[in-house]
Subunit: 153 residues, 4 copies
């Protein structure tokens, strides 16, 4: 397997996740669906802590959901119980109702896995995609730009 | 979202999965990491019931693992509690140590999601990829060919 | 640990569950929260297949939930990947809004674990317990009596 | 349901857990097996942060496991997506190879659920219970006494 270096851009949203006993399979490494669960948690925290949106309220009160429409993921280095891994969230694209996110899982400057995920904002009532609210879109776009500048500098 | 027809090829390995309360999120649809867990179960059953390999023994006794190295998935139609969904396993490519699988989740002739997954056979001792045993490769190749013929016919 | 014999009463609701890779922890045995998930699935199936009630509709349409108010569980023999375990559902008590269930997990005539669980029927609107519908109560009571007779005979 | 006050004793091990989208079921409340997963994580953190034992090493290097032999749990108040709940760990009894723990889940001074769990130290090689190492037992006993004094004062 390749060894890909990763240096998180300045100001990027990163959270540490301890690899728990419960994440690991009989081979002693993270059972892969747990990564997707971690990613969902990261996105929740990013909404709340970075964008200032309460994810729970968005869903419970406003009757919106953010289902994934596409996911792709490259698994490069397995993670073991007791390790602490870093998850970094990058915005790739802000569409009308959709959002392209990349999540990089890394440790000690090496990429362990990288996921690209497209999520769409959907009305729970109609089941149809709805436009991202302008304020939310602005905040996401501002985050995306800030991080891109961080990469460029 | 698109509506893609799906007709399982003759002789293909398909299993029904009831969508349970525990699979569903507050929006009442399957929480997506559960699909990957279902896929892993399907592959286990395919090893045992179609290929005649005991997946548990392969891992516990022979000290091999089958980690995923790449996954991509398109989510087309959400599934709701109480529905029964069909999971169909297609083989896309048999490599030296890797295996390309597609899993189609469908119901009533419509694709609900489609995943393409590449798994590699790995030694738990060395952490390195190992060649698929010839007998296993033959059986997988034979399955692949039989299903392709089923599609063609 | 004790070795407790278990012989399922005649006519009792029993389902087989294969212990999957994903159920098991780095010690190679079932990670215990998965048992509770299996129990929930068993109760769902019991509602549908034994009592003739569609669990999904009960919750989605009728706006009822069946939260657990008390659980106790003795773990006696661990289960390993590749084993098939049997789950048997016994009714211990039918109350006004509550239901006492025992689930025995067994294999080869030996109890592996036994859980006693009390669930209550609750309105999702008010959050208050509601009386079990008479028809549902009758069916559960009839199941309980039939199985008790099966034990006695 | 009862409303039970809970005031964590001075110096007790408590961790906050955000209730995530992924913890919740179609009724919008925590699906109960997730609580047991949270408890397992709390115990892991308690080993590492309070007792100074690396849980992962204990299991991976020393070939010990800590399976639960008994669990009981009273569910009093459901928890909803977006809430932050507190988990507090109390030691009830230190045996030769077993350990009795209580975990109280609370918020705003009210108990939401309380679990009592007995775990036993077991050799992964022999499958038999082994005595808790004296140093580990001393640390747990010291924690237990400190918290009891905290309650008494």
């Amino acid at each position: 397997m390749r060894r890909d270096q990763f240096r998180p851009p300045k100001g990027v949203f990163t959270r540490s996740v301890p690899v728990r006993f419960s994440h690991c399979d009989p081979a002693g490494i993270v059972y892969f669906p747990h990564y997707f669960d971690m990613f969902n948690g990261l996105i929740e925290d990013w909404y709340g802590e970075e964008l200032g949106y309460d994810y729970a309220s968005l869903i419970m009160d406003s009757q919106y959901a953010f289902p994934f429409v596409h996911i792709e993921c490259d698994f490069k280095i397995p993670s073991r119980m007791g390790e602490v891994i870093e998850l970094t969230l990058l915005v790739e694209r802000v569409g009308r109702s959709s959002l392209g996110i990349a999540i990089v899982c890394h440790r000690d400057g090496l990429e362990r896995l990288r996921a690209r995920m497209v999520t769409a904002m959907m009305s729970l009532e109609t089941g149809q995609p709805v436009s991202l609210p302008q304020l939310l879109r602005d905040k996401i776009e501002s985050y995306r730009k800030r991080i891109s500048d961080g990469i460029a500098s």
